[in-house]
């Protein structure tokens, strides 16, 4: 409706997923994002009946009546663009693999599950905890070479560390590879 003030977006709730589950223990909502390795994040989510009902009341829906859902990777630190990835997804309960990009390297990010409202806005419904995306080799060398922030020995220390050749040792024991 023209001129009508859109109701303020509900702040993301799943930054404390435990609290969400406490409120509705039998019907949990969650968005779990796990850094699996240097190149990927595994995200899985579940939307409860009550939350799904709220979404449907405001969402733009497709032919089947399902809302348009998105996983967004958003930086929460400073020093660069905030919106790093926006992936259309589907399902009240689903999982997704997000490939990390060069723009994410070295950034502290969160993953958010959002939907598109009938008015064309995005509303966040669930949010993960923070993840520090590791630096890739290229970004690492660029940072280590920066003379203002880091002394010149740091790159040499990195080269001396043996990380490049022997990224992570394996141990033969039961618990540790």
């Amino acid at each position: 409706m023209p001129g009508r003030t859109t109701k303020k977006a509900t702040p993301p709730t799943a930054s404390s997923p435990t609290r969400t589950r406490k409120k509705a223990a039998k019907e949990p909502d969650y968005l779990i994002a796990l850094l699996v390795d240097g190149t990927g994040i595994y995200a899985s989510w579940k939307i409860s009946d009550s939350l799904y009902g709220k979404i449907l009341r405001k969402a733009l829906t497709d032919y089947h009546g399902d809302p348009y859902l998105f996983l967004q990777v958003t930086a929460v630190d400073t020093g660069g663009p905030a919106e790093l990835e926006d992936i259309p997804v589907y399902g009240r309960e689903n999982r997704w693999h997000i490939f990390t990009t060069g723009a994410m390297a070295g950034r502290r990010v969160v993953v958010r599950l959002s939907y598109q409202t009938a008015k064309g806005k995005r509303e966040n419904v669930l949010q993960s905890t923070e993840i520090d995306i590791p630096l890739g080799d290229e970004a690492l060398v660029a940072i280590l070479n920066r003379p203002i922030l880091h002394d010149e020995h740091r790159l040499r220390l990195y080269e001396a560390s043996g990380i490049r050749e022997q990224h992570a040792p394996t141990s033969p024991s039961l618990s540790s590879p």
Partner: protein, 521 residues
């Protein structure tokens, strides 16, 4: 004092950390189930030989301050009469079998069997003297200042897999601290992060739980934008005040790597060849045993595709001493390489699984004892504890990067596709647990539900599955604990508790029965 007369500081200081952990298993229906044999073999080959070496060193006045992490499942098993009885039975069986196969003129193999029997006999004597209480011996060494004890999470959970729930992480950390405090006294200042798994923000949670320091993989010191100035060659402090001791790779690689490291030397005892397989089923049956790898190891590594030769303990121990001398030289060389880059002498943090020394690498305890004596005599290499360095003050600051040890340096061994779904299920179970408070009627069940969730969180199960070693067992344990937690929680939620079922579970997995878990939650 003139400059020339000033006593020179050590060329390098080393923080040597041994982390001991075995998955909790209790199978009373069987005499020697494989899962309990892991414990028996490690007690006989690793924990007792290391304790004996440390006691000798302390008795001789050799300063060798190891930092030792003992996992709560291991502490629980070491303190339980059930395992002590079974270990004594195991030791007697294996000694008798080794002795029976060692004929007086049977050549080198018999000599190896005879030596093994003698060695196990000495182990039995020490065990009797210690009254089977290994935890007490660790505590005694700690009280004498010979070692520093730290703890780890309750069931060896990889915390980055539970980053979505600080409540689950806190439960693991605080329960681990409580188990430690019950066994060893005051809460430890340090905590070993299982698999050295670290994620953004974990430093703050650890500090909230009273943890002052931990150990991380080398790249934790480089793969974040605001990494520490001295890389992985000095400890550093995170912005929340957690001291981090990053691993040194090249030196630790010389010790652990089975192909290029010391343990691959052909003079050492072979881990995989077990003489029990050569014994007749009839003979084993006579003493009530089935054929299984009991740990009668009497061959040396020899080489690939050639018949294995009998083990000669004199050669093996000589090799360990040679390697200790070589390691001292490597430490000096490494210090000479990095000190000019640092502008000071380095601190090398060398963390290992304790079970490497003695179990996987039979001569490992000899190596460590010799290393201690050589360093003590040389004077230019000093072993220190994290707490000594904390007292001195750590001036380097930085943000640690997310990391773990393991093949890629991240979490994919444990967050493997076959296990990922389990983390979501555990998240839901955790939510249901935290949404309830126990009352007098439900307290036992509530504690056991928490114990089952924590047992499901053990990093051992995804590790077994990822590496296809005991994969079926890993899957079975994961399923077992998830199912038990779900069933007990459902009983609490509906008010229809199955007390017999809860009692059965407490009897099988009693390791946290006495912990007031509800006070942590």
């Amino acid at each position: 004092m003139g400059k020339g007369r000033r006593r020179k500081g050590p060329a390098a200081r080393l923080v040597l950390v041994l982390h001991a952990h075995l998955p909790y298993a209790r199978i009373p229906e069987e005499r020697f189930p494989a899962q309990e044999l892991w414990l028996h073999q490690n007690i006989a080959e690793c924990y007792i030989p290391l304790l004996r070496a440390m006691e000798r060193l302390a008795g001789d006045g050799v300063h060798f301050p190891l930092t030792i992490s003992l996992s709560p499942p291991l502490v629980a098993m070491l303190g339980d009469g059930y395992y002590r009885r079974k270990f004594a039975d195991y030791l007697d069986c294996v000694t008798a079998l080794a002795r029976a196969h060692a004929t007086p003129d049977g050549g080198a193999l018999s000599a190896a069997l005879s030596h093994l029997a003698d060695r196990l006999g000495e182990t039995r004597d020490w065990w009797n003297t210690a009254d089977g209480d290994l935890a007490a011996r660790f505590r005694l060494l700690s009280e004498r200042g010979a070692i520093t004890l730290v703890t780890t999470t309750a069931t060896h959970a990889l915390l980055p897999a539970y980053r979505f729930s600080s409540a689950l992480e806190r439960l693991q950390i605080r329960t681990g601290q409580n188990v430690f405090a019950c066994a060893f006294g005051p809460a430890p200042r340090g905590l070993w992060l299982p698999e050295m798994g670290y994620h953004a923000g974990l430093d703050g949670l650890l500090r909230d739980c009273g943890v002052e320091y931990t150990f991380l993989e080398a790249h934790a010191a480089y793969h974040a934008e605001d990494g520490p100035e001295h890389g992985n060659f000095m400890p550093f402090v995170s912005e929340t005040g957690l001291a981090i001791f990053p691993r040194e790779l090249r030196l630790s690689g010389a010790v652990w790597a089975h192909r290029v490291g010391y343990p691959g030397d052909a003079r050492y005892r072979e881990f995989h060849a077990d003489h029990t397989w050569r014994m007749s089923e009839h003979e084993l049956a006579r003493i009530g045993l089935e054929r299984m790898p009991l740990g009668i190891k009497v061959h040396r590594i020899t080489g690939n595709e050639v018949p294995r030769e009998p083990y000669d303990h004199r050669e093996g121990e000589a090799a360990a001493r040679e390697h200790a001398a070589d390691f001292v030289a490597r430490i000096r060389g490494r210090a000479a390489e990095v000190a000019p880059l640092l502008g000071r002498s380095p601190v090398f943090t060398l963390p290992f699984d304790m079970e490497l020394f003695g179990h996987w690498w039979h001569e490992g305890p000899v190596f460590l004892e010799e290393l201690a004596r050589l360093a003590d005599r040389a004077g230019d290499i000093a072993f220190v504890t994290p707490e000594e360095l904390l007292r001195e003050g750590i001036d380097s600051r930085g943000r640690p990067a997310e990391s773990s040890w393991g093949k890629s340096g991240y979490f994919d061994t444990w967050l493997n596709p076959a296990c990922l779904h389990a983390y979501s299920i555990i998240a839901e179970l955790g939510g249901r647990l935290f949404a309830r408070r126990p009352n007098a009627r439900t307290l036992t069940a509530y504690r056991q539900a928490a114990a089952e969730i924590m047992l499901a969180q053990s990093s051992d199960w995804p590790f077994f599955i990822a590496w296809d070693r005991f994969a079926d067992y890993g899957r079975a344990r994961l399923d077992e604990h998830i199912t038990a937690a779900a069933r007990i929680l459902a009983g609490i939620e509906t008010g229809e508790l199955d007390d017999d079922y809860v009692r059965t579970r407490v009897e099988r997995y009693p390791l946290f029965a006495a912990s007031s878990i509800e006070s942590i939650i």
